[in-house]
Symmetry: C2
């Protein structure tokens, strides 16, 4: 085989691998790419396939209809008598306890195969290091870049003309979703400061803490910290990332503590404390109300589940229901910090399997018996996905392989590798999704932080398992993965301002490069409290990108459209924001009246994707033909041809 053939075969297989894992977990894989894969396999193209079949898609809860209460537990599905139990780090569902004892999982639910996963992963690890594939993808990416530059020179004014002719819609009133934001830092620093001062004015004598059985009022709490909220300023609050945080994830994490005091973080930014997370709920609701006022902005805040003990879900969903933390502008996500090593070190959990069980079993139980866990069931209705978070630059010695200990055997203090975490999260989310689909409930997407720092293998693991990712900076370092992310159109929530404070200077951010090449990028704030200055952090993020990268209106609206597509907004909302055909790929999926993205741009994107996929297809087909030809024909014939 020549180099070109090697690469195209490898890329074909890589795409097939992702397609398999996506289908299994009801996550997205582009239809266009699927069609080319089928074509390579010799399966005919069916016109009815031009829309993604509903059974393959993830399902998100629609916003409540007028007068409907989002916290109403009456509409929950019936309880069933199935049993969920963990085995080898993955939770299986059984018809009953006997089946569970015999480990005979329900046949309706497909099970991710661990051995195959490792095989697939090893294939991809080899592929991204393979010389010919690296050359090929590098060249294709360079070509994509130049092609876009040419497109821009030729069609920029035409695109602008389309947008000018488009009434009622401009960048300001096309929908944008903050696709990556942490709830604990979703307010800006000034907002937090104001909230603290206001709360003290009203609640100074309120008991806000219990220390060794003794009640501590807010007044006492602040007195113990030797400060008075009246004197507080943004400077002394000190929650903003600065030059000191660059390449220092630890310092960045410490900035979450107002005035450096974890007591204040507990009081204002936690769901679980002496006041039942009331302040935190109020701050979030204020942020949501600002978004409602802005009208065209949405956000997907992350709340933490640590896996430290099995009650976490009960407490979190209790908080959610008690304070009625619901807003049509917010779609919730669960973030799981990769800090098993800390919990194990303090003996909070006996092994990694227990952590996984704490994270996932309650979700299975609430799915099987919603009425036994009404608050959690309601909360899960509003959750759209799982995130995996922590400092990616931390090195882990462990190599995920068939020899890796199973989670229940992982009882050492050392943290498992990123890939290990990712696999077990993916496997459990897949199981949950199949179960919930079966039960007619909403499903979850896996949307980990990935490629912010650390090894490129993180991006490889996410390529296999994640619907979409946050950051993706390190795609810079692997042309093969970058090209695969392009072909598979994997959405990437980028936060250049966050990167600028932590890992990569603004001007060096690959956002513009990725956008030009046709990767699906969106803009997100990550932590407004730490990184932003103005009252509208998402607009600040867009404005700075527009200025520094000189984005056109069409670029900005394309990014906004990407953000809606990437998000966990429901089908109804996406239809409303993007148009009835948003699931179709290419220009026919775009409704310019709603998105303000020029059809010329959409056509360019679609043609470009098809062109690249076609190259892979043709080479795969030719090489298949050649294989037979070579057997039948003498070589000179081929050459003269």
């Amino acid at each position: 085989m020549d180099d070109f053939e090697v690469s195209c075969k490898g890329i074909y297989r890589a795409l097939s691998i992702r397609e398999k894992y996506m289908r299994q977990a009801f996550q997205r894989f582009p239809l266009t790419t699927s069609q080319y894969l089928r074509d390579i396999e010799g399966e005919p193209f069916k016109p009815e396939d031009s829309v993604q079949p509903a059974k393959c898609l993830s399902v998100f809860t629609s916003p409540p209809k007028k007068g409907e209460d989002p916290f109403n537990t009456k509409c929950l599905p019936e309880n069933v008598k199935w049993v969920a139990r963990m085995k080898n780090g993955v939770i299986y569902v059984y018809k009953d306890a006997t089946a569970a004892d015999q480990h005979k999982p329900m046949e309706e639910l497909a099970i991710p195969d661990y051995e195959t996963f490792i095989d697939d992963m090893n294939f991809l690890i080899a592929l991204i290091a393979q010389g010919p594939t690296k050359t090929y993808t590098h060249r294709r990416l360079k070509f994509l870049m130049s092609k876009f530059n040419v497109h821009e020179m030729l069609n920029e004014m035409e695109e602008m003309k389309e947008l000018k002719m488009n009434p009622h819609r401009d960048f300001y009133n096309c929908r944008k979703v903050d696709t990556h934001i942490h709830a604990a830092a979703c307010m800006n620093q000034k907002h937090l400061l104001r909230f603290i001062k206001k709360s003290y004015q009203v609640d100074a004598d309120r008991v806000v803490q219990k220390v060794k059985g003794k009640d501590v009022t807010m007044k006492e709490l602040f007195a113990n910290l030797n400060l008075h909220p009246y004197d507080l300023t943004v400077d002394s609050l000190d929650v903003h990332a600065g030059r000191q945080t660059f390449q220092r994830f630890d310092k960045f994490n410490a900035k979450y503590n107002p005035v450096g005091a974890s007591e204040l973080r507990d009081l204002y930014m936690k769901t679980e404390n002496h006041i039942d997370g009331e302040y935190f709920a109020r701050i979030i609701k204020e942020v949501a109300s600002d978004l409602e006022d802005a009208r065209y902005q949405y956000a997907e805040p992350r709340l933490s589940i640590y896996g430290c003990n099995p009650n976490e879900w009960t407490k979190l969903s209790g908080w959610f229901n008690m304070h009625r933390v619901f807003s049509p502008q917010l779609k919730w996500m669960i973030q799981v910090p990769r800090i098993y090593d800390i919990f194990r070190g303090r003996n909070f959990v006996p092994h990694f399997g227990k952590m996984l069980e704490n994270i996932f079993l309650p979700v299975f139980q609430a799915t099987i018996e919603p009425h036994a866990h009404p608050e959690l069931s309601i909360f899960l209705k509003h959750v759209t996905g799982f995130d995996s978070v922590d400092d990616e630059s931390k090195h882990s010695g462990h190599m995920f392989s068939t020899k890796s200990p199973k989670p229940e055997e992982w009882d050492i203090v050392k943290n498992p590798s990123y890939t290990y975490y990712i696999y077990y999260m993916y496997a459990n989310i897949t199981m949950i999704n199949q179960l919930r689909k079966q039960r007619g409930m909403n499903t979850f997407q896996f949307r980990p932080h990935c490629g912010e720092a650390g090894a490129v293998t993180h991006l490889l693991a996410a390529f296999m398992t994640a619907d979409n990712i946050s950051h993706g900076l390190n795609l810079k370092k692997s042309p093969v993965l970058q090209y695969l992310y392009f072909l598979a159109q994997i959405p990437i929530a980028m936060s250049p301002l966050s990167n600028n404070s932590l890992f990569l200077e603004y001007a060096k951010n690959p956002l513009l490069e990725f956008l030009k090449k046709g990767l699906i990028v969106s803009l997100s704030t990550d932590d407004p409290m730490q990184f932003h200055y103005t009252k509208e952090p998402l607009m600040e993020e867009y404005a700075i990108a527009a200025q520094v990268f000189k984005l056109s209106t069409c670029d900005m609206c394309e990014i906004s459209r990407n953000s809606v597509l990437q998000s966990g907004l429901s089908n109804e909302e996406k239809i409303h924001f993007l148009g009835a055909d948003y699931l179709k790929e290419g220009p026919e999926g775009n409704d310019i009246r709603k998105t303000n993205v020029a059809q010329i741009r959409m056509a360019y994107r679609y043609e470009t994707l098809c062109y690249e996929l076609n190259l892979i297809k043709e080479e795969n087909k030719i090489s298949t033909k050649l294989f037979y030809l070579l057997k039948l024909m003498p070589l000179p014939w081929l050459i003269s041809k």
Copy 2:
């Protein structure tokens, strides 16, 4: 003389030149620098000189006291019977008509000497091209840069500590002034769009234009343009600078026309039209009201006087009084476009002298007889300075010299050079200021656009004549001028976002470099309508600078403080915003409780300036001594010493 000596003598003389022209026009020159100059001249340092004598300072009108009407004409000074008349492009004041006929100007008023000015200018032109001085200043600037970097590494945390200890004050509530903003583009694009739609809803049937004697209603106006405001979007409004405007000042100017229609510019962004500039006044008042809400932000909008005919001032001040366009957040400036060539080409003016007369004579007349021009006199009370504006990149063949035609003789269609404009504006402003000082009225500062593009001689002209400038980008190109701007502490209102769209990419903007070296930079928006995205353009400007340049809080607060110092805010306001001693130089002039600038930073700035001035002083002194020594002593003695 050796190289070092040559440079230091040159720099000494350059500073003396600026000092002279500043004193004459009641513009600022730093006391510290003055003291070193006196020291070189052998004059003793007097401790009472540590505060700028009030008689040297420009005077701005204080904000109205509670209940006081800023439009009250009763408090205007009495009329006097003096006569103002132009001669050789400069307006002189005479005791009476006879004195005027004999050209015997009032003795109390010093007169700028044209010949000396040309001499001084030629000296400076030679100096900035002089090899040794270029080397010396280049080295000093490099040293200043490295010194600041060291300061930052050593003291950054100490500065931050000071700010954290400073109660009630942080970046958000320290005062900032938008030191450079054009009234016609002071709203953002979204604001203008909303205003147009709203005005149409209310006023569709209002007559807004008269074309060939026929009334045109707003409905008809829009119908003629083939558009309906209801369909308008930010895109079709098309007033935002984009990639197309880079290096294209003409395209940038064209963007001032909404939907490309000058009719709409006339209707919404002009003081003079069929509706007496009502909409423009309302838009500005809305912007002012937003600033009042933001509380800590001020702006210095520019209104145009073209010099095309002598009624312009009457009309402009009529508009100002009729619509009561006053806000404590706004300090007004007059911008004079350098477009004599256009007016002359259309035969609107017979020669350049007439243009100058149209611009300045009404101001003299209102100063002499306030009660004869009550509206203009009231307006002038609220005007703080003159700006000179246009595309600096346009080349002008003319070299300003003693051979240049006098303004009254300049009757060709060609535009005079930048320096020619600047000199005559300076000379007339100087005369006005002396007259107004004499009469106990507020004075004006000369604050031209300078160094945005074009020749470095522009910056040289401003060094001689301007209190402070806007842009200053081209100081990059002349180390001598850059160093002189540092030693003379000339404020520079920088607008990196404007530059990014017009002349220089953001990352290449010298703002950070200038700040580090100790030049007095402030941040300004220039044209929010064209350049900004958010509701708070000035905050957007600060936020982007903070992010891209990684400014610390102390940096940002220093810039804010600079902006207040640079501005035309009155003495009372400056005392309120910066502290009672703000006129003192060095750390004692800083009140951290009001400015949030660390004293360590202030001390660093002061010591650094003194160190550089001292180098000049010592070399000037030594060389004077050496001169005598060399006459008395044999050379070997000197060498062994």
